[in-house]
Amino acid sequence: MRGHRDLRLLFALTVICALGSLITPLGAARVIFAVPLTLIFPGYAIVAAAFASRPLAWPERVPLTLGISLACLALSSLVLNYTPGGIRGLPWVLILVLVVFFCCRSAATRRGRSSRRRNRVDQEADPLPKPGKPRPATVLLAAVALAMIAAALILAQATFDNNNAAGYTQLWVSPPKPTDTSAEIGVTSEQQTTRGYRLVVEVEGEDSPLVQTFELEPSQTHLTTVNAATESPVGVEAKLYLRSNPDRVYRRVSTQLNPAGASAR
């Protein structure tokens, strides 16, 4: 790649981004390295190799760089799928660095071969228009625009109060496994305000049900564990009542317990 500054720079940037995306501890910061490494450099390198003997006009370069990068990622994932390491960070870095390296080498070799034509071709090529030095007003406007975008995204991520959203309560029992001799019964409040509840758990074959009264704040969970005391499977039924409406069953769940253990606690 000697004598081709653009290709050397591209490969150097690829290596920096590859190392950066592997070494940087913070995931969000790795995005700065990973985005060009995945979405720009492979496409740029492949296009450079393909059009080595005849530089490409800048308008084509934009979609080609992006599109070929995406195509390269889609096809490389198929290749990685059949390698021993599978689709992981390190294999991705290796394959992308290799793609960029071999494409840069190929571009450099082919440019060398057609060096006699290069001068003429360079004159014909449509180089990327160089942006002028930005004016202070332009910089200010761009900064305000960036601040607005940031505000819009922060707002989009925020969770708000919404007193109009209908709250509710979950009553659940853990799905039993074949070896389970106990069951966990939970009440989770997704209500807007603190509510009072009465939980009645009836275990088949036991005279008196387990009764619990409690209050739950929004997003709080109340847990109860029930064990079986008999030698045969027994049914368990839990009923939840709202303290504000004590006569009507509000929620109901049931389960079966395997033998062993003690009574409800």
């Binding site: 979609p63 995406l70 994932s77 607005m148 989009a156 009553l171 496994k177 389960t255």
Partner: protein, 617 residues
């Protein structure tokens, strides 16, 4: 005199400021528009019920300055390219600020699940229980896995970046394609801007789904084909190679787009032979053969299940179209709410949507005339003309209930040609003596109507703004919507066994629930769950499919892949809920237990204590 001079000087200064900072000001307008849309969505999530005008004002702030500038003669090709890219990304920003930020579009959950599977198991082709076909087209998930593996980002964030890149690709590729075909950067800019008026552009095509990545690649293939014709001989091999690479990527990314690539390349070859009056194969026939070969190979050896998935949809669409045309079946009502509780689209919004279609119809003959006069020697331009006419055929399919989806999918591909044809109309060059600005103003207005009308037609009116999936309760802590809380519970309380659910709950059980859930495509659960009684064939089917858990979502929107993920409003009517018997019928299943109850959503365990062996059957 002095005051007039000062006024002139001030006016000249402000003109100078405007012209020297024009692009920066347009960027600022786009940022302001996204912020306004974000505020409208935030208000909607907070239950403030903002006026839709606020949201549409945000969209207008984005599109109007860009459209007006694109109609000018002075803008350079570089500026036009920057403007259309800015337009595409800004409208994508409108979608992003609507997200929760979690996936809230029905297809996103399917691909989000696939992406999670790749991250979890480090391999492609893991089962997708709802849409089996999607696992055979892993291009999108493969590309996303690169970002996820390297950064640890969530599927949502990595997916948003990949789709953003695809959106940028679509806009830039289309601009250069139209520019090369028309030899006019003005037509290219306008045509690309018109494409944002296709019904699916704002939301459906911006979701994390395979077509969102494949369609932009189709545009790149078309660009390569055009460049093949005009490039010097030395560069043709390079274009051919890059086109082949992109074709291969499309084949592994999306079935319908790969068929569209094959069809497009064959039609282009025929048109080239027609234009050149050639007796032997002409145009991109080698690429067409390559696309055909790769598509067939992939279909036969990897994705044979696709035939089973697509053929009923296409067959139903054809049959339904014939029945509707013969008057044997009713037409589909446009702009109607899916359920009784959902208000239909307001009349002014319908008027804008219809006006958009009328504007397209009005522009079509003028555009076709220009295409025929100036570009009839170019096969791609002829293809655009044909697809522009075909678009209105696809539009007619929207009136047929079973063909609606097929028409909707086809319309997006056909709109590419329509955008070019309408871009050729040249209304912006009309300069009547009394008002020289009239043509530009009219063109910019028509463009705005097309984009706003397209957005209204493409997504239900009541769902343009975000609804809450999470909210702060009155006392502070965050609470989740009933289906999301159920999915999170299912994720926390893992048990061996497949789950059957209606559309909304099934999507959330896939992602974030990460559970094996069956629903609309793979089992008849969307018919079994709402029924009043459990019939013997239904019991057999549940056993046959090894469904251990059944999630009964009684809400009217439980089967709705657009509205079913959110909180309902306090005091909302429950008249449309499924009857209680649709829940209790599962209690008659021998040994079934009711393990979850949140009022609107109930889960039954049909085989309590089943071990993992049954799952493996």
């Amino acid at each position: 005199m002095e005051a007039a001079a000062i006024r002139r000087k001030t006016s000249a200064r402000s003109r100078g400021f405007l012209s020297s900072n024009r692009v920066a000001l347009i960027v600022l307008a786009c940022a302001a528009g996204i912020l306004v849309c974000s505020i409208a969505n935030a208000m909607s999530r907070a239950g403030e019920d903002p006026t839709p005008l606020l949201y549409w004002a945000g969209v207008l702030v984005i599109v109007v300055p860009i459209f007006y500038r694109l109609t000018s003669e002075e803008a350079s090709p570089g500026e036009r390219l920057a403007l259309v890219c800015l337009l595409g990304l800004s409208l994508y920003g409108v979608k992003l600020v609507r997200d929760a930020p979690i996936f809230t579009f029905a297809d996103e959950f399917l691909h989000g699940y696939n992406s999670n599977q790749v991250s979890q198991y480090h391999h492609l082709f893991h089962d997708n229980p709802i849409l089996e076909t999607s696992k055979y087209y892993p291009g999108l998930e493969g590309a996303t896995s690169a970002l996820r593996s390297l950064t640890g980002l969530s599927g949502y964030t990595a997916g948003a970046i990949v789709i953003g890149a695809a959106r940028l690709l679509a806009m830039s590729a289309m601009f250069v394609l139209f520019w090369r075909v028309s030899d006019s950067a003005r037509i290219a800019g306008l045509g690309t801007a018109i494409f944002t008026g296709n019904f699916n552009f704002l939301f459906w095509s911006a979701q994390f789904s395979y077509q969102s990545m494949a369609l932009p690649m189709l545009l790149l293939i078309l660009l390569a084909v055009v460049e093949l014709e005009i490039a010097p001989r030395a560069a043709r091999g390079a274009w051919r190679g890059l086109a082949a690479l992109t074709i291969a990527a499309v084949v592994v990314t999306h079935h319908i787009t790969s068929y569209a690539v094959v069809a497009t390349l064959f039609v282009l070859s025929l048109l080239t032979a027609f234009v050149e009056r050639a007796r032997k194969p002409a145009g991109p026939w080698k690429l067409a053969l390559l696309a055909f070969g790769l598509t067939v190979l992939w279909l036969v050896f990897i994705a044979s299940a696709t035939v089973e998935y697509i053929s009923p949809t296409v067959t139903n669409a054809i049959e339904s179209s014939f029945h509707t045309a013969a008057g044997e079946a009713p037409t589909r009502d446009l702009f109607q709410g899916a359920t009784s509780n959902i208000q239909p689209t307001p009349t002014p919004a319908r008027a804008v949507a219809l006006l958009a279609v009328l504007a397209l119809i009005a522009g079509l003959p003028f555009g076709l005339l220009t295409v025929w006069r100036r570009y009839r020697q170019q096969p791609v331009a002829l293809l655009f003309g044909l697809s522009a006419i075909g678009f209105f055929g696809a539009l007619a399919l929207r009136l047929t209930p079973a063909a609606w989806e097929t028409g909707n999918r086809a319309s997006e591909f056909l709109f590419i040609g329509l955008a070019f044809v309408i871009g050729c109309v040249g209304l912006e060059r009309w300069r009547p003596a009394p008002a020289r600005w009239a043509g530009r103003a009219l063109a910019a207005t028509a463009l705005t109507v097309i984009v706003i009308g397209g957005a209204i037609s493409g997504w239900p009116w009541d769902s343009q703004l975000a609804q809450p999936v999470r909210t702060h309760s009155e006392e502070g802590p965050t609470i989740s919507s009933p289906p999301l809380a159920m999915a999170e519970w299912a994720q926390d309380h893992r048990a061996e066994g497949k789950i059957g659910a209606l559309v909304a709950t099934s999507r959330l059980l896939l992602d974030p629930g990460d559970r094996r859930v069956y629903s609309d495509f793979t089992a008849n659960l969307v018919e079994i769950i709402p029924d009043d009684a459990l019939l013997s064939w239904q019991r057999e089917l549940l056993r046959e499919k090894n469904i251990r858990f059944v999630v009964v979502d009684r809400r009217e929107v439980g089967g709705d892949g657009i509205r079913g993920f959110f909180f309902s409003e306090q005091g909302a009517s429950t008249d449309g809920w499924l009857p209680r018997s649709s829940v209790t019928k599962f209690g008659t299943f021998p040994g079934a237990t009711r393990i979850y109850d949140s009022g609107s959503i109930v889960i039954y365990d049909l085989e309590p204590g089943r071990d993992g062996e049954a799952e493996k059957r």
